[in-house]
């Protein structure tokens, strides 16, 4: 079982989270080419090792998180809020 440190809620069990998507792909601009959109929707690197993913703290504070995780060892290197506009944990803006 993974344990993910939510920046707001602290260390929580994997079952409070749901995996969202690969956080290394960038959503193309509205006027980007079909090829760019195709890559964005379908092409994935599938690395064995460190990877960045979006996880949703759906059983907790509902924040989307950017999680750096090793797909081989499950080691988690960092967890950050996905949104730059949500009030930072502990500070509030």
């Amino acid at each position: 079982m993974l344990r993910i440190e939510c920046p707001w809620c602290g260390l929580r069990n994997e079952d409070e989270f749901s995996y969202g998507s690969d956080a290394t792909v960038t959503r193309p601009a509205d006027d980007a080419s079909q090829d760019d959109w195709y890559d964005y929707v379908y092409t994935r690197a599938n690395p064995a090792g460190p990877h960045t993913e979006f996880w949703h703290h759906v059983g907790g504070c509902r924040a989307w998180l950017k999680v750096e995780r090793d797909t081989l060892t499950h080691e988690i290197f960092s967890v950050e809020p996905a949104s730059p506009n949500l009030p930072a944990p502990g500070k509030g803006t």
Binding site: L2, R27, Q34, V41, H56, S83, L86
Partner: protein, 996 residues
């Protein structure tokens, strides 16, 4: 005579508390504090089981959870539990146990004939025998193997007990309450760390309970009791006995099973039988001890042969004589203690055989002082006896030939000690080989754990106490506590642990014997040799080919012997052969405890609407929709079929007025200056110009261009919207909105949350719905004042609410939302208001019928493969703006010919309804491959309005094929129905009714 083999004094048993039990129908007595194993031995019962493959007689060979032989069926009826190790079963009054894997009886087992045919049952027997012909695999071989394989039989009755899953956090988790674990827990607790100490035995102390060792000048078990009492009194310490840590998982979580009530006939009320714990420690100290391994010699599986440590544990802890005349064989110093303890307890030790040429001098002196015959350079070549050992053949380990025979009824052997590395290995670490103890020891830690004492390969009592204490303090420091200096308890000198390798004994006079390596799986040394010869020469292959190391004991006593013998065969050093990876669970764990209390009616949480109780009182038949229970239809008499009900409910709606509970639809409150823009990006249609007080039907796509969800969204204020989603996608739509808002468009100033739970939704549908509502609503709902798609705040009688003029049925209809605590009240008041009009209610079945008649697409058409164009919804799309899925939905392949498009289908055969999933096929074609299918039926019903079976379907280029005749084919039961393709909207295509 009762308990003939019970010693007159000593032991951790309560002689004042006799306990009655039965084994194979015969009654016996033991004492409180006994295990089933010790109680049987006290009564002279050694034959406890038959072996797996050869059905050889077997007795108990260990004193702990590593027991490979003596496994029985425990209890009867619904609590019957097969494959229970007698060594871990605490005796309770009325305990019933039975031997297994024998017929007709344990003493005379017909299948023992396998023993004679054993040359045919060698390693890889199944692979070799049941290979050809392939047609025999499922029809013949599976039945044969199933009958012969397996040991006990499980009960087929429901389990009357329940199980729990619990969670506990701590700074330091200590696994094992022996001398090392107690010291570690004590030291960590002194530094104020939150400590959890677990031990699988009913009492702490570990090996101290089995040995006559002294700590701080008193018996070790007394010292342990004192420490435990101290720990239990501290509020930063929790002690779990009868609790086995069975798995070490990622991110430093450890799972354990607590046998809460296994030692009782029946769990006390409200108490689970067993409990699974998930521990979340910062640091783990593994003090899980070590397991002795047996010597490998001829007939080493006979009842009466056990581990040297087990023999002295039965004497010391249970005051039981496991025999009268003992032969002890060893390759190390440790078994000398068995000779001494057995002798001191009054057993006759016929011989102590040490395979080493040079014994430890002080120990030899102790032996000599007791006049125990000590033979060096000797070991057991073979044992003889039928259902019990009767004598041994003593052979030389230094090359001399010839054998000497000694009579005995007990053999106690020690082949050395293996640290219990299971949890260490499960944590991801790789154990390494230690030449000095001829076994594997912990390698480099991969998680926050350390092994101490015997588990760390340090076997002396002093090392356990010192190492445990240091590890406890260190663990507390690593958790951020100021380490408090704690002095380790002082132990007497228990000598050094010296060992010389002896992996397999020479056979006497060159004869061949069965030399068992893995008793539970009947794997012999010759099987290991054969596996190697046949190329299965890695430990992982050996395990799978011979089954060595499988089943309930997971090779606890056999793994190291097996790989050492394999190494010998290969001519490689042991470290090069390596060891198999340990996997959880360390001990067998019942499936029930993994399920916890989420079984039966509690399997999943259930979501109920505010109208649920009313529905239940009306004998509604419910259907599961996700976690929701929704009323499906309402039988009015016991004879009513679902068909009767939905036809009646549909007709009542179409001709008059009826209510339906639509509370399960997802509802999302959206606010903020950028709310319209946000909706514009989520939906294919336009939201900027929707007037306040109006609702609009919207469609969302996935990023790949396929339709994702639909529903109506209303504008409650300039910057305030109220979205509804399908019941099925309510949670995922909200999650997706949050994802886009937080990861892609954080600059949009908009906030939203689910309000599904706050509102009860009631649809009032039918030509007379306005007439009904007008009696109770405080706002003008005439067509002029409140036209189709109008939205407004209102009060229904005294209940505040929101009214939406929207329709799923295709009739004049309204949807009323009221706060849920008023939901049932609103429902009742509407029924009351409609009483004279004969208002009806309907369920999801009639709802489905009406949506098909009206051609509203739903889940079965939004199947993740259909585009807005396929579903006839493209006209709503505003392709001048950007929205999710826009680009991908414009891929040429999705726009061209050959797409499956939604159509209506009418049964041309009176009285026959279509079936969901039927293929749509050209009448000229006999369907035999899927490529001939031109589409499928997605939703069907009998239409009371059209008085025939109708359906929605997805048909290739269907939008341009209205009027064609096809066949709906259901190949599984060769059903065919002639159908006519038509427009999907069967009734009121102009939408006059909803606007009336």
């Amino acid at each position: 005579m009762a308990q003939e083999f019970r010693l007159g004094r000593g032991g951790q048993i309560d002689r004042e508390q006799p306990v009655s039990f039965s084994f194979d129908g015969k009654s016996y007595q033991g004492f409180d504090g006994d295990t089933l194993a010790s109680a049987l031995l006290a009564n002279g019962v050694h034959l406890m089981a038959r072996s797996f493959k050869y059905h050889r007689p077997r007795g108990v060979s260990t004193v702990g959870s590593e027991e490979p032989n003596a496994i029985v069926e425990l209890r009867t009826g619904p609590r019957k539990e097969p494959n229970t190790r007698v060594t871990t079963v605490e005796l309770f009054d009325g305990l019933v146990a039975a031997s297994q894997n024998r017929w007709p009886s344990l003493g005379f087992d017909v299948m023992a004939i396998n023993n004679l045919f054993s040359p045919l049952l060698s390693a890889g027997f199944y692979y070799k025998t049941f290979k050809w012909p392939a047609s025999f695999w499922t029809n013949v071989y599976e039945h044969v193997i199933r009958r012969a394989a397996g040991l006990g039989s499980a009960t087929t009755e429901p389990d009357p007990d329940f199980y729990e899953q619990c969670h506990a956090h701590c700074d330091v988790l200590v696994v094992g309450a022996g001398p090392a674990g107690l010291s570690a827990a004590h030291a960590a607790a002194q530094s104020d760390a939150r400590v959890i100490l677990v031990d699988e035995q009913p009492r702490g102390g570990g090996s101290l309970n089995n040995e006559k060792l002294e700590i701080a000048g008193r018996p070790g078990s007394e010292w342990a009791e004192g420490i435990l009492a101290n720990l239990e009194a501290m509020d930063n310490v929790r002690v779990f006995t009868r609790t086995t840590a069975f798995g070490y998982y990622d991110h430093n979580t450890v799972a354990a099973i607590e046998r809460v009530a296994d030692h009782l006939p029946v769990p006390p009320r409200g108490t689970p039988r067993q409990r699974m714990w998930v521990f979340y420690p910062q640091r783990v100290v593994l003090a899980s001890g070590a397991t002795e391994r047996p010597l490998v010699f001829g007939n080493n599986d006979l009842p009466g042969i056990m581990l040297a440590s087990a023999a002295r544990a039965y004497v010391n802890r249970f005051a039981v004589r496991p025999g009268k005349r003992a032969v002890i064989a060893t390759n190390n110093n440790d078994a000398y203690r068995s000779a001494i303890d057995l002798h001191d307890a009054g057993l006759r030790v016929v011989a102590l055989l040490d395979s080493r040429a040079e014994p430890d001098a002080p120990l030899a002196e102790e032996i000599e002082r007791r006049s125990i015959p000590l033979f060096t350079g000797k070991t057991i070549g073979a044992a003889t006896g039928r259902k019990h050992v009767a004598s041994v053949q003593v052979v030389s380990t230094t090359g001399e030939s010839g054998a000497q025979s000694l009579n005995c009824d007990l053999i106690a052997t020690s082949g050395g000690w293996n640290p219990n590395l299971h949890l260490h290995s499960q944590s991801g670490a790789k154990p390494k080989y230690d030449e000095s103890i001829f076994s594997f020891v912990p390698g480099e830690s991969r998680q926050a754990e350390v092994s101490v004492g015997a588990a760390g390969g340090s076997f002396s009592l002093k090392a356990c106490l010192d190492g445990g204490t240091a590890a406890g303090t260190e663990a507390a420091i690593l958790c951020g506590f100021e380490g408090k200096k704690v002095r380790a308890a002082k132990a007497g000198d228990d000598g050094s642990y010296a060992i010389e390798a002896l992996w397999i004994a020479p056979t006497p006079n060159g004869k061949s014997y069965k030399q068992f390596v893995d008793m539970q799986n009947d794997v012999k040394a010759s099987d290991v040799e054969l596996a190697n010869q046949e190329g299965y020469d890695s430990v992982e292959l050996l395990k799978r080919y011979t089954t060595q190391g499988m089943a309930t004991d997971q090779g606890k006593t056999s793994n190291v012997n097996a790989l050492a013998i394999l190494a010998g065969q290969r001519g490689d050093p042991i470290p090069e052969v390596g060891i198999t990876t340990f996997r959880p669970p360390y001990v067998p764990v019942a499936m029930g405890v993994f399920a916890g209390h989420t079984v039966g009616a509690d399997f999943m949480p259930v979501r109920r609407t505010a109208i649920h109780d009313w529905n239940e009182n009306e004998a509604a038949v419910f259907i599961e929709a996700g976690l929701w229970l929704r009323a499906r239809y309402f039988p009015r008499s016991p004879k009513d079929t679902m068909y009767d009900c939905y036809v009646r409910e549909t007709e009542a709606t179409r001709k008059n007025v009826a209510l339906v509970d639509v509370s399960t639809l997802g509802k999302i409150d959206i606010q903020g200056p950028d709310a319209p823009e946000f909706l514009n990006r989520l939906y294919i249609n336009n939201w900027l110009k929707l007037p306040v007080g109006k609702a609009r039907y919207g469609v969302m796509l996935r990023e790949d261009g396929m339709v994702y969800d639909d529903g109506t969204t209303s504008r409650l204020g300039e910057n305030h919207f109220f979205m509804t989603t399908t019941t099925a996608n309510a949670a995922s739509v909200l999650a997706q909105m949050e994802q886009y808002h937080q990861t892609e468009w954080p600059e949009l100033d908009v906030v939203f949350c689910s309000v599904t739970e706050h509102w009860t939704g009631i649809a009032i549908a039918g030509p007379n719905s306005r007439e009904l509502l007008e009696q109770v609503i405080d706002i003008d709902i005439s067509n002029e004042a409140f036209p189709f798609m109008a939205v407004g705040e209102c009060r229904m009688n005294d209940i505040p609410g929101r009214l939406f003029r929207i329709s799923f049925s295709g009739e004049l209809a309204y949807e009323l939302n009221v706060p849920a605590d008023y939901g049932e009240q609103a429902w009742l008041e509407l029924l009351e208001a409609g009483k004279e009009m004969n208002v009806a209610v309907y369920g999801t079945e009639a709802l489905g019928t009406m949506r098909i008649e009206k051609g509203h697409v739903a889940g079965s058409e939004l199947d993740g493969r259909t585009t807005a164009m396929d579903l006839g919804l493209e006209a709503m799309a505003n392709r001048a703006k950007h929205f999710i899925g826009k680009h991908m939905s414009e891929r040429p392949a999705l726009l061209g010919e050959g797409r499956l498009q939604v159509v209506g289908l009418k049964s041309l055969e009176p009285g026959r309804n279509l079936r969901i999933g039927a293929h749509l096929v050209d009448p000229e074609v006999e369907l035999d491959t899927v490529s001939q299918s031109q589409g499928h039926v997605s939703a069907t019903t009998y239409s009371p309005s059209l008085q025939c079976g109708i359906a929605l379907g997805l048909l290739r280029d269907g939008a341009s094929r209205h009027g064609e005749q096809l066949e709906a084919v259901f190949p599984l039961d060769k059903q065919k129905i002639k159908v006519e393709v038509c427009h999907p909207v069967f009734i009121d295509p102009e939408g006059k009714l909803v606007r009336a």
